[in-house]
């Protein structure tokens, strides 16, 4: 099967070479980081998690979002998703690999990673997150391998795969729930200490993930002529719209509870994020960009006319993705540390090497998704021919 990913036109190879080059740049800076230490990043004693963990959090959402195509297709037998379900699953695999790399590059002593399995610690949410993510990766690798393999041979997939697919549905929910527990169970970080964290993570995941899938479908349509089908895209649009509404609703809930209750330690974080605190406001323009993108996307997506227009629908999806990327992939994690437990505002901004390592991991994600999609589409074409 994999041979299909190793055959392609000029454009395909140019794209893969470009991604490979970006990965190498990231790798180069990772070796620099390994040599110097994590001090090469913008992180500090006070802001001890930065872009790596923030991007990890965001990508777990993308990974979990596969459930939005898997569930209707396998549980409700919603045929229109037949063409894109495999794409959702491949997106999940790529996203989980990115997640694992984001955690890996964040470790001060990466060569000791196996200590997590050597000394399994059941009361640590980090342990459970690693277990959940590894399990989800294994499930999706098995599922895509078996279903696509069956398609390759033009036979029905074996019966035993169905329970595994069904298991992957709650598993997807679990990976993002445990990721929320990672930060929402810390009494000393009031910004994260909210029971709505897991629901909020799921809502943002189920809007940003399918939005990315829609964008990828549009790109593929242009490049390969692959058509996900009008009905499937429309249904995805509806899912994104509802999930985005829930996401924005949850964010507003945080605003109400924080500012109406007015507990100083809670207020300080949200104030820093959206309005600035003690004259420090580095994230403020980003967060308002995110807020405007969210509002704009809702206008485009809720209105049926713009949702059903391909161009405005695509713009709406891009806005959803960018809005949540800023909110979850930047603001949410960093602001948990600002102000510090001593009430001091010490800001954070990623350094160039740190950003390039992140870009390298994104490039690897795109490389995987490109090869997976190439493989899936080639097999389909072959079967149809």
């Amino acid at each position: 099967m994999i041979e299909h990913a190793l055959r392609g036109g000029r454009g395909y190879w140019i794209w893969l070479t470009f991604l490979g080059a970006v990965i190498l740049v990231g790798l180069y800076f990772y070796f620099k980081q390994l040599n110097y230490g994590l001090g090469i990043t913008g992180m500090s004693r006070n802001v001890s998690w930065g872009l790596y963990i923030a991007q990890f959090t965001f990508m777990v959402g993308v990974a979990a979002s596969a459930v939005m195509v898997v569930l209707p297709y396998y549980l409700h037998n919603y045929k229109a998703f037949g063409k894109i379900t495999i794409l959702g699953e491949f997106l999940a695999i790529s996203a989980v690999v990115m997640c694992m790399l984001f955690v890996f590059v964040d470790l001060g002593q990466p060569f000791r990673i196996l200590n997590v399995f050597l000394y399994p610690t059941f009361h640590s949410m980090m342990f459970w997150d690693i277990v959940a993510l590894s399990g989800y990766l294994v499930l999706n690798v098995i599922i895509t391998r078996v279903t696509l393999g069956a398609e390759h041979k033009s036979i029905a997939p074996p019966k035993w795969i169905r329970p595994i697919i069904i298991l992957s549905i709650p598993w997807a929910i679990s990976i993002h729930t445990v990721t929320a527990f990672l930060i929402s169970g810390l009494g000393g970080r009031p910004f994260w200490l909210t029971a709505i964290m897991a629901p909020r993570f799921l809502a943002s995941a189920f809007s940003a993930g399918p939005a990315l899938l829609v964008v990828l479908c549009f790109v593929m349509k242009r490049i390969t002529g692959f058509d996900a089908g009008n009905e499937a895209l429309k249904k995805l649009g509806l899912i994104i719209t509802y999930a985005m509404c829930a996401n924005v609703f949850f964010i507003l809930m945080e605003f109400f509870t924080t500012f109406y209750a007015g507990i100083p330690e809670d207020v300080a974080h949200l104030q820093y994020l959206y309005f600035g605190l003690d004259g420090h406001a580095r994230l403020v323009p980003w967060m308002w960009t995110s807020a405007l993108l969210a509002i704009g996307s809702l206008v485009l997506l809720i209105n049926p006319q713009t949702r059903n227009n391909r161009r405005t629908f695509l713009i709406g999806c891009i806005m959803v993705f960018l809005s949540i990327w800023i909110d979850k992939g930047l603001g949410l994690v960093i602001t948990g540390f600002i102000p510090s437990p001593f009430g001091k505002v010490i800001q954070y901004w990623p350094t160039a090497p740190e950003a390039l390592i992140v870009v390298g991991i994104w490039a690897l994600g795109f490389l995987l998704i490109t090869m997976f999609y190439k493989m899936a589409l080639s097999i389909r074409e072959q079967v149809e021919a």
Binding site: G37, L38, S44, T121, F122, I183, P341
Partner: protein
């Protein structure tokens, strides 16, 4: 046969609810599972206080009235830094510190008071690891690189730590430091009797556990020119720390978080 708390937690943890079980038990003390569990460990209403059954629970009492009278004194910090090979990077980004001074208002952030007595207003006070009885850092560590001694000291295994810094996110007191880069070139005068650390691991104050094992007091306690710090066994009613706490009003940092910090400040 009594089951130790550690064994119990392992059992509960195996059912994947270890992290919340303790709270669940105290919140639903009347459910049958909770009854069995609390019977097994011989606990009363709150399991988290059970460790007082240990013969020794070390604690620190810091008389702030004595401390702030020594304006600008850093004897405790110097003694600690020198012996424990604390590097001096000269910037706050890479900073490693075990004991340091913070303004009273910042150390006691949750006790906002604009009308503090002149004695404490804008005065810097020593802060260091509280060696909590219920340490959140130990709860979150994925490798048990940070763990608790039976006497209560929260320890750090620098050789097991993977450098994920989850403990730093969990600590409500900002007591933990990470080696963002190799600290060795930045140690002014290396003390060969104490290990230096490598880049990529977390470290913290351990109340000089290496000295405690030899029956010695922590360095900061010894270095204090006005004897503001007292170290001892909280479970011994006749200990110095207990006597001080009996005769003086004390406060702790963020006790409302349920971490049970074991540094008592006399005001």
């Amino acid at each position: 046969m009594s089951i130790s708390r550690r064994t119990l937690l392992k059992l509960v943890g195996a059912t994947a609810i270890g992290a919340t079980a303790e709270r669940f038990i105290s919140a639903h003390a009347d459910t049958s599972t909770a009854r069995i569990l609390s019977k097994a460990v011989g606990a009363g209403k709150r399991l988290s206080r059970k460790k007082t059954a240990q013969p020794v629970r070390l604690a620190m009492v810091l008389d702030l009235r004595k401390c702030v009278s020594q304006l600008g004194c850093t004897k405790c910090i110097e003694a600690c830094d020198k012996t424990h090979n604390i590097p001096d990077f000269g910037d706050s980004k890479d900073e490693v510190k075990w004991i340091w001074k913070e303004p009273y208002e910042n150390a006691f952030l949750d006790q906002e008071n604009f009308y503090l007595t002149d004695q404490f207003s804008n005065k810097k006070i020593p802060v260091f690891c509280n060696n909590c009885n219920d340490p959140p850092c130990v709860e979150v560590c994925p490798t048990q690189a940070t763990y608790q001694r039976t006497e209560g000291i929260v320890m750090m295994d620098w050789h097991r730590c993977i450098g994920c810094r989850y403990c730093m996110a969990a600590c409500p007191y900002g007591s933990r430091s990470f080696n963002w880069r190799d600290p060795r070139p930045f140690i002014n005068d290396i003390n060969p009797d104490y290990p230096t650390r490598m880049k990529g691991v977390v470290e913290k104050c351990t109340w000089c556990d290496e000295r405690v094992d030899q029956g010695l007091l922590p360095l900061c306690v010894e270095a204090c020119p006005v004897k503001a710090m007292t170290f001892g066994n909280l479970n011994d009613p006749n200990s110095d720390v207990r006597q001080l706490l009996k005769d003086n009003f004390s406060v702790r940092r963020k006790p409302g978080l349920g971490t049970s910090p074991e540094v008592y400040y006399l005001v």
